[in-house]
């Protein structure tokens, strides 16, 4: 078995030209932790996640400087909102992360599951030798497939 067996072939995705506001609304409404982003040719570009929202509202210097001791900064929710307001109309392409490595449909199942376990987020399935997004693999997809296999055997 391979990754294709456990992937959702019709995943939800965002376009790279969508705004951060749209992306945030989408993940907040649907309670997604992350969602794949594709360009106009359905080429996988990376993931947009709730982390992006957090990153936009924390003082940027914290990230640039690697400042770990930030207990002295006291901010209100309004301060955070103002920071978000400054970037809400920017395209999500400025915010996507590429630290989740995609698998191909042919990736062996155990290797796929290990990557899913280590990533702790849904992983994209991309056609080998191209960048086309073919599907997504989530914990729920895998869990449902495993339970379905057990149910089929018991039946």
């Amino acid at each position: 078995m391979n990754a294709a067996a456990v992937m959702d072939p019709n995943p939800t995705f965002l376009q790279s030209t969508d705004t951060i506001e749209k992306g945030v609304e989408f993940i907040m409404t649907n309670r997604y932790r992350s969602i794949p982003v594709v360009d106009e040719e359905h080429c996988y570009m990376g993931m947009f996640g709730v982390n992006c929202l957090l990153k936009q509202v924390i003082p940027q210097a914290v990230f640039h400087s690697g400042l770990k001791n930030v207990g002295f900064i006291h901010e209100s929710l309004l301060d955070l909102y103002h920071r978000f307001d400054e970037v809400r109309h920017e395209p999500i392409s400025i915010c996507i992360t590429q630290d989740i490595l995609p698998v191909s449909p042919e990736t062996p199942l155990t290797e796929t599951l290990l990557q899913l376990y280590e990533t702790r987020l849904s992983i994209p399935v991309v056609k080998q030798g191209s960048c086309k997004l073919l599907g997504m693999i989530s914990y729920f997809d895998v869990g449902a497939k495993i339970l379905a296999a057990g149910a089929a055997e018991n039946a």
């Binding site: 210097a61 914290v62 640039h64 400087s65 400042l67 207990g71 002295f72 900064i73 006291h74």
Partner: protein, 445 residues
Amino acid sequence: MHDPHQAQVLFGLSPMWFAGTVFVISYILIVTEQLNRAVVAMLGASVMVVGGVLNQQAAMQGIDFNTIGLLTGMMIIVAITSESGVFQYLAIKSAKLVKGDPWGILVMLMLVTAFLSALLDNVTTVLLIAPITLLITDTLKLNAYPYLFGEIFASNIGGTATLIGDPPNIMIGSATGLGYNDFLFNLAPIAVFILALTLIPVYLIWGRHLTAEPRLIDKVMSYRERDAIKDPLLLKKSLFVLALVMFGFILGHDVGLEPATIAMLGAAILLALSCLSNSAEEQSAKVTRTLREVEWMTLFFFMGLFILVYGIETTGLLELLAELVLGLTGGDKTVTALSIMYVSATASAIVDNIPFVATMIPLIENMAASFGGSDELIPLWWSLALGSCLGGNGSLVGASANLIVAGFAERSGQPIRFLPFMLLAFPMMMASVFISSVYVYFRYL
């Protein structure tokens, strides 16, 4: 001259030529950064031994363990102290003392950087101060460049002021027996003066234009510096040990205690205090974490370098070079001292000042006979210290601290470019060296 404890150079080659060649190749590799400098120094040192310039026993004797011990001890003390959050506290407190005024903050951050650089080391200081600087300038929506530029200058000037402030001073102090108080009384006054003068161009170029919106200043004023202190008990222990160590540096020289002994004792006491009331596993984890913070690469670089320099020293090459320098300066102490200062400053702006100073120390020592004894070399040591420490301000690669700050600037999207920095920094550095030369001339020559 060559008695490398009876070692024989390979194939009967001339020790001077062999050692000189190894040294020059190592130096070129260090300067061009083709290979990690610690690796180059270790390789060069090994070749000195394998090639027969030194035997192992002689090589070990070449290592200045006073410098190594002092660096290691201070690194441990700083690693533990920085966990308390005291450095962030100082930076925030200083920004609030001037009511968040942008120019006032620049001055205060420069003063804090200079002060900490004098007590600790430059690299640690900027590693702790630059992140807070970026946060403050980001909050005030100001360009961080003037602040980071000022901190680079302040760190190198502050480091000039004390024995432990900058590695060249540590090496000079260790080689000559000049103590903490000697550096403090002889270099601190001129360092303070130069720092004050540095504020003038910084103000004229940037300071007078710095403004921020009141609502943003209010944000800086809302920082609670007390919350930066993560571990008040550790802070008390650290400050207690730091005070003991400084006290030890001041008095130790008179009772025959070397700075390395004092620093290592301080490090051991602080490690012991920080481990108290912890289980064996926690103690082990704590000590491991602290020792991981020690810059082993720097220490191995120093050890390799000392062996390299000792190798060429035993062959008599540095004695020949010293004679050459004296020939060029006509054996005049004033000309020699000022030449050392300007050459050191220029060289330190271009290349790493540590190998340069490591080479210059035995070279200057070889001039003792010509000038009538080692006491007559004092102006030359101050010239070397001032030139090599202040020279670090001349370019972005002049000191490790400069590169650390440049790294922070790059990540924050406000890069410090090599040439624009040098166009401003080099003349300012040369002005500081000129002031130093006037100081050395009137005080010591």
